[in-house]
């Protein structure tokens, strides 16, 4: 684009305009004013061609189920969605049936039935107030969008889950609060969730806190953007088409304009 403009217009002006776009749009990354920096990991799903690691996602689902789901809901995710991380219909049916949901029977009474694949993930608490009351006033946020809802979400989440260290001597940690070096203000209401062998992985992977944090982050990243793989794949085709269209229209333009330019 810059090269082809040279016949019409000065390069430097175009470059300045392009940098205007870049400067304007890059404001946001630091707009939130976060000062804590997290370890930057290499995720399989980052980058233009990145995809999710199925095995890691499935381990992450196990961590979510056995560790997180006691307090955190995933209300936007349905059991049927688990098909796209590699489970079959029977497995999903069985997984859903471990939970129960309220329904109204023909006599108008509220009764429980096992959850179905079409149901959304059952939240651990009936409402926000119950969630707060059970957790000393701290609300355990729903995790459906957590990776998208935090700046640098995947790295942040992994850091937070592995960021429990002993508080420095001068820092007073009140009852019901825990010290986390990556949490804003360092005092968090969530106790350390991940310990060595906190879960037992079926595939034999060693369940270190770091490994579990990576796996559950991979699972939650997918839950935030279940369309990501489709999106990137379609994106590649669209970009190839557009590059071709750009090239063709460029040469067509050059040919049409040739008599005018050569006058």
């Amino acid at each position: 684009m810059i090269k082809s403009s040279s016949c019409f217009f000065p390069n430097n002006i175009l470059k300045l305009f392009l940098s205007l776009i870049i400067v304007c749009s890059s404001n946001f990354s630091f707009a939130a004013g976060e000062k804590i920096s997290y370890p930057q990991l290499k995720w399989s799903f980052s980058g233009i061609l990145g995809t999710f690691d199925r095995a890691s996602q499935q381990r992450g689902l196990q961590v979510y189920k056995e560790v997180c789901s006691g307090c955190h809901g995933m209300r936007l995710l349905a059991y049927r969605n688990l098909k796209s991380i590699g489970y079959n219909d029977d497995e999903i049916k069985a997984f859903a049936a471990e939970n129960s949901v309220n329904t109204i029977n023909d006599d108008g009474e509220v009764v429980e039935r096992p959850a179905r694949p079409s149901d959304k993930f059952v939240s651990p608490y009936p409402n926000d107030k119950a969630a707060r009351a059970a957790n000393g006033g701290a609300y355990p946020p729903d995790l459906s969008l957590i990776v998208k809802a935090r700046p640098d979400g995947a790295n942040y989440l992994h850091a937070l889950l592995t960021g429990y260290v002993d508080a420095p001597a001068e820092k007073k940690v009140p009852d019901g609060m825990y010290y986390n070096k990556y949490y804003s203000g360092n005092l968090i209401g969530m106790p350390q969730p991940l310990y060595d062998d906190g879960v037992e992985y079926a595939d034999g992977t060693k369940a270190t806190p770091d490994q579990m944090a990576k796996d559950v982050t991979a699972f939650l990243a997918w839950a935030s953007e279940p369309e990501m793989e489709d999106r990137k794949q379609l994106g590649i085709s669209v970009m190839l088409f557009l590059l071709l269209l750009t090239a063709l229209s460029y040469f067509a333009m050059k040919q049409i304009w040739a008599p005018i330019k050569n006058q």
Binding site: M1, S5, S6, C7, F8, F9, P10, L14, L16, F17, L20, I21, V23, C24, S25, N27, F28, F30, A31, A32, G33, I48, L76, N81, P141, S144, L145, K148, A149, R150, P151, G153, S224, P226, E227, R231, K232, L234, G235, I236, V238, M239, L242, L243, L245, T246, S249, Y250, A252, M253, I256, W257, I260, Q263
Partner: protein
């Protein structure tokens, strides 16, 4: 109108009674356009394309959206997760807003650089500023609809600005909200207005085009078209050039939609609105940041609001602030330098708008705001008295043919 213009008998029959084909033939096909337009003249048609894209995707989104505080957030997530290609439609709409503003801002700065607002195109310019204002209102209300944290708190901050109006301010804010806080009635009316305003924009765009076609496009050297030797018919010359520009634009746009869809958004908007929890920093969308910086630069609330709206208001009277008869910056050496300073000033304001309002940022915002108004209100009127403009070419075709005055010929070569 010659009878033999159209060969197809149906077209001929219709055109004789309703001359739409003659109209299109005249305005889109033969329409004489200066032959020296550079790529910055692509941005008008790109803005039109962006507007249509926003309307089409917006109508589809509205079929799946629920304008209620309890359901809005989840209905958007349902679009993202369960509606077929809903994520694509929403990401096009979401990023389309940003790209619409990028295109329009470049379009505006092109007008500033080449003096496109000067006689006889004053109304063309004013209609353009009106479109900008309508776009801002539409974009602001659209950002509220997903009912995330930034939606809610952005709406609260911006609507509260009206409370700065003396005496009746508080009542106006209650009236805007339809209640005593940003709530369901606010969301409903914003949805309604967000749906209808784009069609108002279409109306003003049509007027903008009518005004444009009255005298035709300005051009990089800013002198009037002297005759047919200076122009080419719009089609095929500018239809193909616009198609090329569109392909390049779409490549950037698609890259954002498919690979970085949330780059220009704010993570907090994926947290459902909660009136009990205020985000640490309430930041508007990037395209409002320069105006947000001006708002916060003024220590007085009413003053801040007046200066913020004043930043747009000066654009309305721009054709009468700049009295120089020379349009293009290419022949205005001092004006040209200040143009780049103004552009950098606006970028600086945008940066400052994203920063917290404290310390050095406040001081810089005040300096940048002062410069913005100095540029339009003092520099523009005074410059013609001190600036010695370069000699203008005799006609558009001469510098292209290489037969212009030596000075202008060199000026053109330098640019290459």
């Amino acid at each position: 109108m010659s009878k033999s213009k159209f060969k197809n008998p149906v077209v001929k029959w219709i055109d004789h009674r309703l001359p739409v084909f003659s109209f299109m033939d005249h305005e889109l096909n033969h329409y004489p356009t200066p032959k020296n337009l550079n790529y910055f003249w692509n941005f008008g048609s790109l803005a039109g394309f962006a507007l249509v894209t926003m309307i089409v995707t917006g109508i589809v989104l509205s079929m799946n959206y629920t304008a209620h505080v309890d359901y809005a957030f989840d209905s958007v997530e349902r679009i993202m997760r369960d509606v077929n290609h809903g994520w694509l439609i929403r990401y096009i709409h979401m990023n389309g807003a940003s790209f619409f503003f990028i295109v329009v801002y470049i379009h505006i700065f092109r007008g500033l650089y080449y003096g496109s607002y000067k006689a006889p195109r004053e109304l063309l310019w004013i209609l353009g500023v009106l479109i900008l204002l309508l776009m801002m209102a539409t974009a602001f209300m659209g950002y509220v609809l997903p009912w995330g944290q930034m939606s809610f708190w952005g709406a609260t901050v911006i609507t509260n600005l009206f409370s700065a109006i003396p005496l009746i301010g508080e009542s106006i804010v209650t009236w805007l909200w339809g209640g005593f806080s940003v709530d369901n009635s606010t969301l409903n009316r914003f949805f309604s207005l967000h749906f209808v305003l784009p069609f108002v924009i279409v109306g003003v765009v049509i007027l903008h085009l009518v005004a444009l076609h009255r005298f035709g496009s300005n051009n990089p050297i800013g002198i009037d078209v002297k005759g047919t030797q200076d122009t080419v018919p719009f089609s095929p010359y500018y239809t193909i050039k616009d198609l090329f520009g569109l392909s390049v634009f779409l490549s950037f746009f698609a890259a954002a939609v498919f690979f970085f869809p949330n780059f220009m958004g704010h993570p907090d908007n994926y947290i459902e609105a909660n009136p009990m929890v205020t985000p640490a920093h309430i930041v508007p969308e990037w395209y409002f940041l320069p105006f947000y910086a001006i708002l916060r630069a003024i220590p007085d609330k009413l003053g801040g609001v007046l200066f913020m709206f004043g930043a747009i208001a000066v654009l309305f009277i721009l054709p009468w602030l700049d009295r120089s008869p020379v349009r293009s910056s290419q022949f205005r050496p001092i004006f040209k330098v200040f143009f780049w300073i103004l552009l950098l000033d606006c970028i600086l304001l945008g940066y400052l708008g994203a920063m917290p309002a404290e310390g050095i940022y406040v001081i810089l915002s005040r300096i940048a705001t002062a410069y913005y108004f100095f540029h339009f209100l003092i520099l523009f009127p005074l410059l013609p008295y001190i600036e010695k403009t370069k000699p203008l070419p005799i006609s558009i075709s001469e510098p292209i043919l290489g037969g212009g005055s030596p000075a202008s010929a060199f000026a053109m070569r330098e640019k290459k």
